[in-house]
Subunit: 415 residues, 2 copies
């Protein structure tokens, strides 16, 4: 039997009802009254959800191991001891999260394991479904802790002391996880995986707008976050003539105007620029603002554009006498061409229409790309909505995504 035929056979064993049932079953852990999910990383509900998935993994005949950041690895052995193919995502959610962000990728991975079993297919390489810890970064900051610590284990020294809002350290949360699952062995190999493919909802409106059910994700935009600190002098709104004012909001709005203009000028149609957070002091109706801090989130797939924006933003702040503070930056990620072409092949083999796009959101695959050849696949988000109880994807799209994943993981496992 040709590899392509095997991959097709596995994809055909993807079971729509079983996939949808698993999404609803996982969503019960931390279910919100509004239909959403609230499941903070390594909290009680996350531990229960992990127990549920570990039991399912064992029922599928898989072994389960864990690493220093409580990432779980559900392994289906291959015929050889070659480097495994990996898939997966995360199961922690935003406080007002939905059922799909992260969970869909993990559960589609489980569905591929079941489909491989049902098709009675043995692969050359092992297949591992990873559950990455604390991707959202809501309980412990920063996000993507699990995947970044997997790729660069020395990060754990810093991460261990991070505290949640209740003062609980990541170290203590990891101890609690260990106490809950004392039987789990440590993941053996630290060799690079053969490939990593992450299936995720788009969390944006582009697929829906284009009327296309899948996207092969060519990379992840780079991002820069800057805080602009604007100083003024608090004074009475009624008694201070305009020429004698030093109004921090007037300064902030002038900066906003220039930064917004430069973002569009440099980045053209690929620019995404957002001024989402503003802090105004004293924030009183009749007092001239003494201090305004706002944050600009600038994203672009081209590292040269990000560097040019960086330079212009510093110059603008300096010219206006504002203080620019660089809060966060991440370089654009280009996924592996060979992995992307395998995903393209899988789409074609299953007659699934797909477009190529750059991810605007971060994902665990952003870090995995530093570890092994990686790629991503998106299904549409209804209305582009995510991080919201209303997060939804048509069942047909969810099933199609899992079928393409099954196809390309099977071929990668037989490399």
């Amino acid at each position: 039997m040709m590899h392509d035929d095997i991959a097709r056979q596995v994809a055909d064993r993807v079971n729509a009802a079983r996939l949808i049932e698993s999404i609803d079953a996982l969503a019960a852990f931390g279910a919100r009254d509004d239909g959403g999910v609230n499941r903070p990383a390594l909290g009680e509900r996350d531990i229960e959800a992990r127990r549920f998935l570990i039991e399912r993994a064992r029922a599928l005949g898989c072994s389960v191991s864990v690493d220093a950041c409580a990432n779980l690895f559900i392994r289906r052995d291959g015929d050889t001891a070659l480097a495994p193919v990996m898939t997966g995502s995360h199961i922690d959610t935003q406080p007002t999260g939905g059922k799909l962000d992260g969970c869909y990728g993990v559960l589609a991975g489980f569905e591929v394991l079941a489909a491989l079993n049902d098709a009675n297919v043995r692969t050359r390489r092992p297949l591992e479904v990873a559950i990455w810890t604390n991707e959202e970064g809501t309980r412990f900051s920063p996000g993507a802790m699990g995947s970044s610590a997997f790729v660069e284990p020395s990060r754990m020294t810093r991460y261990a002391d991070v505290r949640d809002v209740d003062g609980v350290t990541l170290r203590a949360a990891l101890d609690a996880h260990h106490a809950a699952f004392p039987e789990l062995g440590a993941r053996g190999s630290h060799d690079a995986a053969h490939a990593f493919v992450e299936l995720h909802i788009e969390q944006g409106p582009q697929l829906e707008n284009a009327g296309v059910p899948l996207a092969v994700v060519s990379g992840i935009q780079g991002v820069r976050w800057y805080a602009l600190h604007c100083a003024g002098t608090a004074a009475h709104a009624g008694t201070t003539p305009m020429p004698l004012r030093r109004d921090a909001m007037t300064l902030a709005i002038a900066l906003h105007r220039e930064l917004d203009g430069v973002a569009h000028e440099l980045g053209r149609d690929d620019t995404r620029v957002t001024f989402g957070r503003w802090n105004v002091e004293p924030n009183s109706i009749n007092t001239i603002p003494s201090a305004v801090t706002f944050i600009v989130d600038f994203r672009h797939p081209d590292a040269r554009v990000l560097a040019a924006f960086d330079e212009r933003a510093h110059a603008i702040a300096q010219r206006h006498g504002a203080r620019l503070e660089a809060l966060f930056s991440h370089a654009p990620v280009a996924f592996d061409a060979a992995v992307l072409s395998r995903i393209d092949d899988a789409c074609r083999a299953l007659d699934a229409n797909a477009l190529h796009l750059t991810s605007g959101a971060f994902h665990d695959a952003m870090y995995l790309a530093q570890h092994c050849a990686s790629g991503m696949l998106f299904v549409p988000s209804r209305g582009g909505i995510s991080h919201n109880p209303a997060e939804a994807t048509d069942a047909g799209h969810l099933v199609l995504g899992a079928r393409v994943l099954a196809h390309c993981l099977t071929t990668l496992c037989n490399d």
Copy 2:
């Protein structure tokens, strides 16, 4: 003896040391560690301060009465039962207030009472120093409660149920005041006063900038407060292409630009426009704002300009699909020409340089102007600073203001 000579004689009896001592003595009630004062209206410290002033008033041979809003009236009888001349201000402060806002006007009134005694002058009309309750509006909203209720007693029906942040009603606070001073009689006359003159710190930088020690205040600017409610759709800052966004902050900044432009176009040099309060939802770095509300505070001495701004602001909001909410409005006040000329005369008689200006801040005199012929006199604020522990005025300016007040009250009392 000519009236002018008598007024000069009283002004000369203004005692600098006694005036400064009284300012420091009153500031002890609610003194802050940073040199400022925190004395909420009708709170414990305000009651103690009132007890201190009532004792001083009696020591000066004056009678003290009270009205329904706990305004206190310190009365020095005249030779006749003609309508009294009034002066005074308030002694409640901002939470981070200074020693002078309001207090200076009250204590200068006390100093005039003492100077009249020292000069052994009997006036034709009675002189009353009023202490208006809750001018700041910090404990109970709105401000200028005492003076507005004095002028329009029916307001008490509404005011009585207003609660402070701890849920205490004004009614309960007034009961506590009554319990503290059960011996105070109700103010007898409800006839209009002959005139009201309020001495106050400028709370702005104009006198200091002009190098002039006094201002005769020709009126109080009118003001309009509008909230602009801008709606957007929360979405991911990374995944949502610019043309598909509905960004509430982008809308708010477009509105700000137009409103700011119209304010300057209509009001020219007399415009004062402030955008001091901003509320951004969800105020997250990487989420497109779903709602922004900001407030515009527009002030101008000309009622026609205020009306034109009103019309333009409504049109701008409508054109942009934003909701405009009118929060507060007060018409400009023009003080009484005859009272102003008496203040001018007093300045001239004492060789004090004075300019004329319009008050940008509200004062109790704004309401008293509806009750009787009224006017105001300002002394400079160092650095234009007020509502701040650093609030200060040179001692020489404080004394000069009290001398001019003594002069013009004496002449008004002999009308």
